[in-house]
Amino acid sequence: MSATAIPIGESPTRRAVKRFLRHRLAVFGLIIVVAFILVAIFAPLIAPYDPLQTSWTRIRRPPSWAHWMGTDENGRDVLSRVIWGARASMMAGVVSVLGAMILGVPLGLLAGLAGGWVDAVISRIADAMLSVPFLILAIALAAFLGPALENAMLAIAITASPVFARLSRGMALEAKSTDWVEAARALGNPAWRIAFVHVLPNIIPPLLVQATLAIAEAIIAEAALSFLGLGMQPPNPSWGSMLNSSQRFLTQAPWLSIFPGVTIMVVVLAFNLMGDGLRDALDPRAEKT
């Protein structure tokens, strides 16, 4: 590179994007995720039928050219319901994980940077919540809050937050011992500015990886809650509730279970592939060179 032309520097973010794009499976996962997000957003335009439109003349029809995924026990088009169900699942996945981060990350930063009894209290609460299996806690919370999609999302957000609190506490502890945090203090930064302007941007990479993996988990959790009747309420479509109503017809009309089930699997797999790629791309060991 010649000394005369000085381009704007390459940010750490751009370097990570470049590394991510070299990761084929991760890009494949990203494409599927983006596709499902678009499907969720444009569901009313894409869905061939009204997902709530029942018809006594075409009950439990197998897949055909008119109904690609067949029809269910009330004669509703399964494809349209899967497409509309993407809304509930994506919303539940993204919104509940965002909620978990908004709840967990500041608490984790506070615990890590403040230390002392603040850290002890926050860490013990997080440990206690983590000692209960994720789904059990989510089910208990959702049952307590009452059956509705919003409550299911809230339950998932609360249940997933200790993971983020613990992760950001660990990263904050690590950052606290670095020279650049001490430098920030020596410059006269107030504590909140050290936490949010200096430490937070530096711990975004592991949080992002955790978030993609947590979205996959949250989608499964939403499906599970809906399956148990604690999430999306019928007749509104959600992948979990579709699985629930189809189990009675598993032998006579397997397409009712297969399509929502495969869809859940594909989306969760895509998120996991993306998360793995992100982890490789954002690896701090690669960051240094």
């Binding site: 590179m1 000085i6 750490p12 430098a183 410059l187 006269g188 941007p201 960051e287």
Partner: protein, 351 residues
Amino acid sequence: MTQPLLQLNDLAKRFPVRDALGRKAGAVHAVDGVSLSVAEGETLAIVGESGCGKSTLGRLMLNLITPDAGTVRFAGDDLTKLSSSALRARRRDMQLIFQDPFASLDPRMTVEQAVAEPLRLHRIVPRSEERARVADLLSRVGLRPELARRWPHEFSGGQRQRIAIARALASQPKLIVGDEPVSALDVSVQAQVVNLLSDLIRDLGLTFVMISHDLGVVRHIADRVAVMYLGRIVELGPADQVLSAPKHPYTRALLAAVPGHGTKAPPIEGDVPSPISPPPGCRFHTRCQHAEALCRVTTPELTAAPHAVACHLDGRLPPPAPRPDRLAGGERLRRLQSFFRAPGPQPGVPQ
């Protein structure tokens, strides 16, 4: 005499040591009873072996860690008594340069953001003039202002240290503490950065506290020198006197240990005793070839300024072995520096 800019009084800092069960098992006496004053405009060097507490002392000076005892007066205020917001505001006047330039810059901030941060925190210039001021600061430390929008990982160690210096200068501080600011750099780059620092000290009239173990650098830059051993100051005086006519046996041993020294002085025996249980009396007596019975019992106090020493044998010590009048490295360092001293800002070399 005017009031000193920085005055330390009987400062002490102990770091507790815990055993495997978390019980207090003792404490590292990092800094123990240090009194020191730094006058406005002077350059004080603090020298000593690793582990003698000089970095801790540097951080105590800026109240980045709070002392267990003693006071730190900066321009009249006791820093340990200030409220946290008053202390933050005070930080405008005192800055720190770190040893490792690869660790002291936030990896997610561009050069411009890093240098502009103190400007913003202390509202030094309005936002509209920020960019111009950053460019000004960068050229002052010998970096091209066009590099402002790059990230730290794109720079070499010497360049990063220049960025750190520009950041320290941004708030127009009265006092800068340099914690081994050049010892992590390559020798050729060291000379450049030492030159830069001494130019800045001269041009801006800075008060500078240089923590270092490199006596060549210290001789080049310091007006006064404080020698530390195991958390205490053993000798304190004008740089030329301390470095050419050392009074304390430890200072003599330090000087004799500078490589390239003409005469081979006998090295001091043994290791530094554990700072968890420092020896009674004079802390150096375990390694001192001149130690007497008194040294093992009573702690010597510093004698009066200007050339103070904490030694019972002060005045009775045999004259030091004859040694060349120059400090090894001094002349060579100067010659090396003359190669690198550039008339104006040097172009930073992009990688």
